[in-house]
């Protein structure tokens, strides 16, 4: 208290005011029972957004583009993952592919795939249910290349020597004619089953079955046409022809083993009973082959290698997930930039509306009321931007899937993530403008020009 008695010449006999009287509780309670309803504050925020349509639209643009980018890119990333996965499983599920590995003859270790160590005898050993109990089917295959000639047409094709199990293991069947039978294999039959593309090229009229063609100089008869598998990335079966394994080994190519009196195979594909049995089957296959090849059981001298389909799938999944994450992170940066846009425009808006804020405070708005109103405005702007962006991203993803040649996969969690992130961006970047609005001094704000 300043001593200013002499400075107040008027009314020297005013009653003094005691300062230490406690505040009456009922009066305080009356003042504390105060505060704007959520519905009213929501109405104010909505009115501000609606009253400036152009500004609001421009503000939401950044978030909109960001969310659209996140949604579309995640859809593309996931779509890629799905399509690669289906490519891998298109040729059968739960497969172990055994290839000739580094040969190990007389201490000279050759490069992987160079040796020709796998024989039909190995395949028979692997098909023994006593030795590899979890193998559902075993398909020994012999690969070669040859020219196929049908009338005037001819083309270079991959020739695969197979047994009937091939159809089972690779989940394929003929659309015309018949598949190769055990009898065909036993009799070294001169027959061929054409891949879908080969049949289309050589017999565009669709009358392939029954025709005689020349394959690698030998006359053979077409007995069937395979169903179309679609591009499976690694040399497609659609561009191959199938012959009986024995025919490939003995009539078309020289597949006699150097020793042991058996015949060579290029790969032995073993199908496990289930995804869970893959590891155990791989173990059993390795053990049997080591026994057959008289190799150390610890695996140190292996002349074969086993490719586990589950391992490939896991690698592909990991890779595409990282790709998706990477794409989403780039898109998230644009969302962040959108958030900065919200902050900028709202800071300008707070300055523009300084007098309005001063008035609201004079009429009884508390700091928290102003803060809430401006935060709600920021949330509305980012939320609207998020929703429109979600729709836009969905449309982009669908369009890319339809016309862009990339497969896309939309998912609810990605949509919710993008929407939630846009709201978080609105909240985060709305705080600074909202606080500057809430802290305005009403006296200064009311007289702001």
């Amino acid at each position: 208290m300043i001593e200013t008695e002499q400075s107040n010449p008027v009314y020297p006999d005013l009653a003094p005011i005691e300062n230490d009287a406690p505040l009456p509780d009922d009066v305080l309670a009356g003042l504390r029972n105060y505060g704007i309803a959520w519905s009213d504050i929501f109405r104010f925020a909505l009115a501000s957004v609606r009253n400036h349509p152009l500004r609001s639209a421009l503000t939401t643009l950044g978030v909109m583009i960001g969310v659209a980018a996140v949604v579309a890119l995640i859809a593309i990333g996931r779509g890629t993952q799905v399509s690669i996965t289906s490519m891998i499983t298109a040729n059968g599920a739960n497969l172990l592919t055994v290839r000739s590995g580094a040969s190990n003859q007389g201490g000279v270790v050759g490069a992987v795939g160079q040796g020709q160590s796998l024989t039909l005898k190995d395949a028979r050993a692997l098909a023994d249910p006593m030795r590899v109990p979890d193998a559902a089917a075993v398909s020994p295959e012999f690969y070669g290349n040859a020219q196929i000639v049908a009338g005037a047409g001819n083309m270079e094709v991959r020739v695969i020597g197979v047994e009937p199990e091939y159809a089972l293991v690779h989940n394929t069947s003929v659309v015309q004619g018949e598949f190769i039978s055990d009898n065909d294999v036993r009799s070294l039959a001169g027959i061929v089953v054409l891949g879908a593309n080969v049949a289309e090229t050589l017999f565009p009229e669709g009358d392939a079955v029954g025709q005689r063609v020349r394959l690698g100089g030998q006359h053979v008869q077409v007995v069937g046409v395979l169903e179309k598998k679609g591009g499976s990335g690694f040399s497609s079966v659609d561009d191959s022809v199938l012959v009986p394994l024995s025919t490939a080994q003995r009539r078309l190519f020289n597949g006699r083993a150097i020793s042991g009196g058996s015949f060579l195979v290029s790969v032995i594909v073993v199908q496990a009973r289930s995804a869970e049995a893959m590891a155990a089957t791989q173990e059993a296959v390795a053990t049997v082959l080591r026994e057959e090849h008289k190799l150390p059981l610890d695996g140190s001298g292996d002349d074969f290698s086993i490719i586990n389909q589950a391992d490939i799938l896991a690698t592909v999944t990991r890779t595409t997930q990282m790709l998706t994450l990477f794409l989403a992170a780039i898109a998230a940066i644009s969302l962040l930039v959108g958030g900065i846009g919200i902050m900028n425009i709202m800071l300008v808006s707070v300055r523009e509306r300084t007098r309005e804020i001063g008035l609201r405070k004079a009429l009884g708005a508390r700091e928290q009321d102003i803060l809430t109103q401006f935060l709600l405005e920021a949330l509305m702007l980012s939320g609207i931007g998020g929703l429109i962006g979600l729709a836009l991203g969905t449309v982009i993803a669908l369009a890319v899937g339809q016309f862009g040649g990339l497969s896309t996969h939309l998912s609810l969690d990605a949509a919710l993530l993008a929407l939630g992130f846009s709201l978080a961006v609105g909240l985060f970047f709305g705080i600074a403008p909202a606080r500057s609005a809430a802290r305005l001094d009403p006296v200064v704000a009311l007289h702001y020009e």
Binding site: M1, I2, E5, I17, N19, L31, R32, R355, L359, G364
Partner: protein, 234 residues
Amino acid sequence: MNAMISVRHLARIYRMGEVEVRALQGVSFDIQRGEFVAIMGPSGSGKSTLMNLIGCLDTPTSGHYRLDGLPIERLDPALLAAVRNKKIGFVFQQFHLLARKTALENVALPLAYRGGVPRAEQLERAAVALERVGLGHRKDHRPWELAGGQQQRVAIARALVTNPALLLADEPTGALDTRTSAELMELLSELNQSGMTIVLVTHEHDIARYARRILELRDGLLIHDTAEERHDRN
């Protein structure tokens, strides 16, 4: 304590860096219920500072202020907001109407901040307040569709809608022509005659004449009070 406003040794000092501005150097007075008081003084006299303190928009550096018995200098900002809403109706020189809202919505604004008043009742009470200032037929007009005098009447309706204990008018006719000013002052006089306590800040004697008591400030001090003259005569 019966006075609507009791002010004792009220001082407000602004510090701008090293410079101290003693805007108000300690004033004391009482304003009773139902009074119509004009605060006068040249610019820099401290009348705006006093007005902001009485309006609970600012807090004093020292001294005491009782508004309707409430110790204002001891209340926190949130409670001061409640006091402004419940006890005071403001009328400003620049009207301060929200441009995009209708007259009715502008008048209803303070009731929203009070809370506990449903929207329908807010609008109903706003309509009654507009009738009271003679603008019942302009409810749905926006400020730019109204003449200056009408805009200020909307502002007065907004001040009245909360049934405040005190009407605080800061240069209410500053932006109006002479005839409209006179009409507006007649409206304030009528409100005063029906029991409303009014404090008016002005630098125009023509306007101050409508008040029944004039406090004159100079250099942050109260130098004249017409109530004192009446006091002397008795």
